[in-house]
Structure formats: structure tokens, C-alpha cells
């Protein structure tokens, strides 16, 4: 509950940050005017700043934070390991490769995203196919295949970087990989919303079963679950949400790994509370960090640098000051 208030607070706060000042009352009017018809008493500049510049970016940050932390929370339970992040099955490596490939081939902006998203899905599909050939422990097989596929795509990415034009393409690839929400526009947002919702919503509905799945393969089956099907569904949903996020914002490390921990410290491991808490916390956190990224200096600071720079000391402080530790 408190977390929901936090998110709403951060959400509105984020509209005020930036070089163009927007008074609170005016902001409310501009936003409400989208739902109700209100007399337009403001200048078009205000409307552009609020609706076309700040709104897409804020919504993208909320979506990205939610997607990464919900996917991370689901994976940590499914793999029964609190050190797992959403890219364990190679989705980020695949998505980065896809983006770099598109930049190397000088494709357009939208093509970069489509390529990134598709290669992210393809990487995880490869990992699942490889895992299905292994006869032993299915969860371990999935992790190992994920690592293998991730390594393959990382090498392919390195190869593209090596081949890329060092004055033009290489910096473009590097900046893309560093991540950021500065390039998000309204039409892109539409492409992001659908896959993120499609990924997060089923996980949300299945949150009780995620509890049971985290007991391990045998116990979950003994409690009546079709573990193979459920696992596939969790992988699919998490991958969809993560790939859409990486395609729009580049690599954003740390959020999917640590936000579920924070949420677990706050509300315990029961997914009925953990999943909503992760979602709210992840959204607020990424939004706050993105606010910092765009207002700390004149130039924009890449998001992935800040997520860990801010998060690591904070997490350490939390570790020192909570009794229950990090499980």
C-alpha cells in the first residue's frame, strides 16, 4: 500500500523535473485534459513538454522497472536461487546482439528495436531447445543452456563491434548498450506496452503457483502442478517483458536482480505480496534513477551506470540494517 503511494508520488514528481518548469496545477490540468475536455488555457509548449517529452519517458521508466523486477522475482523463485536475474537465459545478450547487428547494417530506428526484441526471444528459444535435449535435472539444464547461449551471443556481439566502423557505428553501439530512456517517443511506447503487459499480467495471475514452483521440481509436482508447462509459461512471459524492455531502453542491469530482494526484505517471499511489491518498487526505483539521469548534469547519464551506482551502496546499507538478511 505504502509502495503504491510511493510510485504515484514519484510519478508526479518526475513531471516537474527538467529544464522547462511546469507548475503543479497546470500539470494536473494538462493531464486531466486528456481524459475530460477542459478549456485550453496553456501554451502548446507546455503540452509538448508534458505529453510528448516527459510522459513517454516516465511511462517507459515505470514499465521497464515493472517488467525487469517482476521477471526477476519470478525467475528467482523458479530457479530457487536469489542470485538469478531476468537475463539468465540469454535474453539480454540476444537483444544486445540484435541491436548491434541492426546498427552495423545501418538500419533505421524502429528496425533496431524490432531486431533487438526478436533476437532476445530467439536467444531464449535456443536456450530452451538446447535444455529440452538434456535428460537430467530440467532446471539446471535450462540455466546451463542459458549461459551457453548468452556466451555465444556475447561473442557474436564482440565480433560485430570489432567489424563496426570505429568513428560512427562503434560509439552508436556502445551508447545503445549503456542504456537510457532518452530516446523513447510516444509511438515506441505503444510497442513496449503490449509485450510488457502480456508478460507481467500472466505472472501476476499465477502468483500463488509461483510460490509452489519455488519449492522445487519434485515437491511442486507432488502438489499437483504441471511443472514443465508452468515453467515454460514463466520463461515465455519473463522473456517477453524483458526483451521488450531491453529493445527500448538498452541494457539496464541490477534492477531485476536486486529489486526482488528489497521487496522480499519488506514483505517476505510469498508471491501474493512479493510480486506487487516488486512491481511497485521496481517502477519507483527506475523512475527515480531516470530522473537523476536526466537532471544531474546537462548531458544525459546512461541509465545502467546510475542504476548500480545508486543501488549498490543503498543495498549494502539495507543489508547492514535489516535483521532478516537477504533471503
Amino acid at each position: 500500500m505504502g509502495l503504491a503511494v510511493l510510485l504515484v508520488g514519484v510519478f508526479f514528481l518526475s513531471f516537474f523535473l527538467g529544464p522547462y518548469p511546469v507548475p503543479p496545477l497546470l500539470l494536473l490540468k494538462v493531464l486531466l485534459a486528456q481524459v475530460w475536455s477542459l478549456p485550453h488555457t496553456w501554451s502548446p509548449t507546455v503540452e509538448i513538454v508534458v505529453l510528448l517529452v516527459r510522459l513517454p519517458r516516465i511511462v517507459a521508466a515505470v514499465l521497464a522497472g515493472a517488467a525487469l523486477s517482476v521477471a526477476g522475482a519470478a525467475y528467482q523463485g523458479m530457479f530457487r536461487n536469489p542470485l538469478v536475474s531476468p537475463d539468465i537465459l540469454g535474453v539480454s545478450a540476444g537483444a544486445c546482439f540484435g541491436a548491434a547487428l541492426a546498427i552495423y547494417l545501418s538500419w533505421g530506428f524502429l528496425a533496431i528495436e524490432v531486431s533487438s526484441f526478436s533476437w532476445g526471444l530467439l536467444a531464449v528459444l535456443l536456450a530452451c531447445l538446447a535444455a529440452s535435449r538434456v535428460r537430467h535435472d530440467p532446471v539446471l539444464a535450462l540455466v546451463l543452456s542459458g549461459i551457453l547461449v548468452g556466451t555465444l551471443f556475447s561473442s557474436a556481439l564482440a565480433l560485430i563491434k570489432y567489424l563496426a566502423d570505429p568513428y560512427d557505428q562503434l560509439p552508436a553501439i556502445t551508447f545503445w548498450l549503456m542504456g537510457g530512456l532518452g530516446r523513447v517517443t510516444l509511438p515506441q511506447l505503444k510497442w513496449m506496452i503490449a509485450p510488457v503487459l502480456l508478460g507481467v499480467l500472466p505472472l501476476f495471475l499465477l502468483r500463488w503457483r509461483l510460490n509452489v514452483l519455488s519449492l522445487g521440481e519434485e515437491e511442486a509436482r507432488a502438489l499437483g502442478l504441471n511443472t514443465a508447462g508452468l515453467r515454460l509459461l514463466v520463461v515465455f512471459c519473463s522473456t517477453l517483458a524483458t526483451a521488450a524492455t531491453v529493445a527500448v531502453s538498452g541494457m539496464i542491469g541490477w534492477v531485476g536482480l536486486v529489486i526482488p530482494h528489497l521487496a522480499r526484505i519488506l514483505v517476505g517471499p510469498d508471491y501474493r505480496r512479493l510480486l506487487p511489491a516488486s512491481l511497485l518498487l521496481g517502477s519507483s526505483y527506475l523512475l527515480l534513477v531516470d530522473d537523476l539521469a536526466r537532471s544531474l548534469s546537462v548531458a544525459e547519464i546512461p541509465l545502467s551506470i546510475l542504476t548500480s551506482l545508486v543501488g549498490a551502496p543503498f543495498f549494502f546499507w539495507l543489508l547492514l540494517h535489516t535483521r532478516r538478511g537477504w533471503a
Binding site: G77, R80, N81, P82, L205, L206, R207, W208, R209, N211, V212, S214, L215, G216, E218, E219, R221, A222, L223, G224, L225, N226, R264, G268, P269, D270, R272, R324, A327
Partner: protein, 257 residues
């Protein structure tokens, strides 16, 4: 309720062969046997967690369909070997997970599930642990929590894998007394154990496994003998009858040094 196992073969490379027994409501069947004798494998195969290689398992005369996971979970409750899971769920949450086979895919436990879980905790005498993290209670208490979780499935058969392993003397007794009470209330119980004494004291029948083969099946007094213990564990032991004040007679094993 009757569970019949006929000529069951299971385990990696068919290590366990030709196991037959029948279990009825109110009975406790004990599976003593040395490490590696195939007890756990047999238990997991009956549960459908491992694929059977031959033979069949029948419930009330009907062959069990091992793809109907939900039905299986409503029929058989499984108490795995004591272990500590990675996430500190609260005791009540762990017991509630036993309700899963009775919930639809997208549902969470409702108030009546909560009430049932609380009642089970109370029956097993651990209601005060409700809010404690499952990872932090003692081994004996954790065992009782797992039994409560299996009972929350409302099963007709309870299968337990070494429910008394790593428990102290008092907790072993407490767990076994609870199992006896549950059997008396109409549950069928199949349990593996390290201790021949437990089979002698609590089993209605005993299935002796050695190296994946059945070497004895019947009432504990007939199956657990000085000869069978010598063959099973390579230990010389005496079986002693003890006269109990007003509680009949009991047998116990005493290893000879």
C-alpha cells in the same frame, strides 16, 4: 480405499524390481532398509515423480493415471526428506501450499483454506509457529509442518520419506505418535525409515528392501528377525521382547557389539 502395487520396476536402469504390496485405509506400512536399497526411489515412483519401468499401481482396482497430476495430489500427500528451502516462507504459507491441488490455476487460497491450514497446525500442536519463518524452526517442527502441508491436500494416502531422520529422540516419538493417530483416523500411511525399531513399534506391515529387491513382506514381528537384520545391515542384532506395564508387549532390536 486400497492401493495395490504389483510387480513394480523402477529406478535408474531398473534397479528396483518386482515390488508388490497392498495398502489399505488405517494401515501403516514401513519400508526399512539400508541406504541405497531403493526405498526413496520406490516411494517417488508410487507418487509418479519417477517413471515406472514395469508393473502397475492401482487405486481401488483402477490403474493410476500418472498424467493426472492434480488428481494424484488430491489422493496422495508427500512428505519429502527434511531439507531447508532457499526462501523463508512462513509456516502458515507452507501449509497453505498443500491446498494447491484443490485450487484452480489462477486462484489463491481462500478463507476456508486458511481455516483448514490453521486447524491442521493446531491438531499437530504447532499452532504457535504459524507466523515463524519455516527456515528457522527446528527439524522436528519442520517435519510436522511438512506433514501438515501434506494433510492440507486432504489425501487418502500419506507417503513419507524418512520422517524421523535427523530428529532427536523426543521428536521422533512425537512424529510417529502423530502418524499412528492419523492412520487410526482412516489415512493409509507408507513411510521409509532408517530404524527397524520404528517398524516394529508402529508398522502394521513391513516391506523389506535390499539392493532393489523385496526380501520380506508381512507383519513386522515375522519380517524383522535377527536373520533378516543380519542380511540387511550386516550387523549382528538381538530382538528382545519387552513387557510394558499395562500396554502389552513390544519388541526392540539391540545390536551386539
Amino acid at each position: 480405499m486400497k492401493l495395490e502395487v504389483k510387480e513394480l520396476a523402477c529406478g535408474y536402469g531398473g534397479r528396483v524390481q518386482g515390488v508388490s504390496f497392498a495398502l489399505e485405509a488405517g494401515e501403516i506400512i514401513c519400508l526399512p532398509g539400508p541406504n541405497g536399497s531403493g526405498k526413496t526411489t520406490l516411494l517417488k515412483t508410487v507418487l509418479g515423480l519417477l517413471p515406472p519401468l514395469g508393473g502397475e499401481v492401482r487405486l481401488n482396482g483402477k490403474r493410476l493415471n500418472y498424467r493426472a497430476r492434480r488428481f494424484l495430489a488430491q489422493t496422495m500427500g508427500y512428505v519429502p526428506q527434511n531439507h531447508i528451502p532457499p526462501f523463508p516462507f512462513r509456516v502458515l504459507e507452507v501449509v497453505l501450499m498443500g491446498r494447491t491441488p484443490h485450487l484452480s490455476a489462477l486462484a489463491s487460497p481462500r478463507d476456508e483454506d486458511l481455516a483448514l491450514a490453521r486447524r491442521l497446525l493446531r491438531d499437530l500442536g504447532i499452532a504457535h509457529l504459524e507466523e515463524r519463518p519455516y527456515t528457522e524452526v527446528s527439524g522436528g517442527e519442520r517435519q510436522l509442518v511438512l506433514i501438515a502441508r501434506a494433510l492440507a491436500q486432504c489425501p487418502r494416502i500419506l507417503l513419507l520419506d524418512e520422517p524421523t531422520a535427523s530428529l532427536d529422540f523426543g521428536n521422533q516419538f512425537m512424529v510417529l505418535q502423530n502418524l499412528r493417530r492419523l492412520a487410526a483416523s482412516g489415512l493409509a500411511v507408507l513411510m521409509t525409515t532408517h530404524f527397524p525399531d520404528h517398524a516394529l513399534l508402529y508398522g502394521h506391515r513391513v516391506l523389506l528392501l535390499r539392493g532393489g529387491e523385496v526380501v520380506g513382506y508381512g507383519p513386522p514381528g515375522e519380517v524383522i528377525t535377527e536373520e533378516s537384520l543380519a542380511r540387511l545391515y550386516r550387523v549382528k542384532a538381538r530382538i528382545v521382547r519387552v513387557q510394558l506395564d499395562g500396554a502389552g508387549e513390544a519388541r526392540i532390536c539391540i545390536p551386539l557389539m
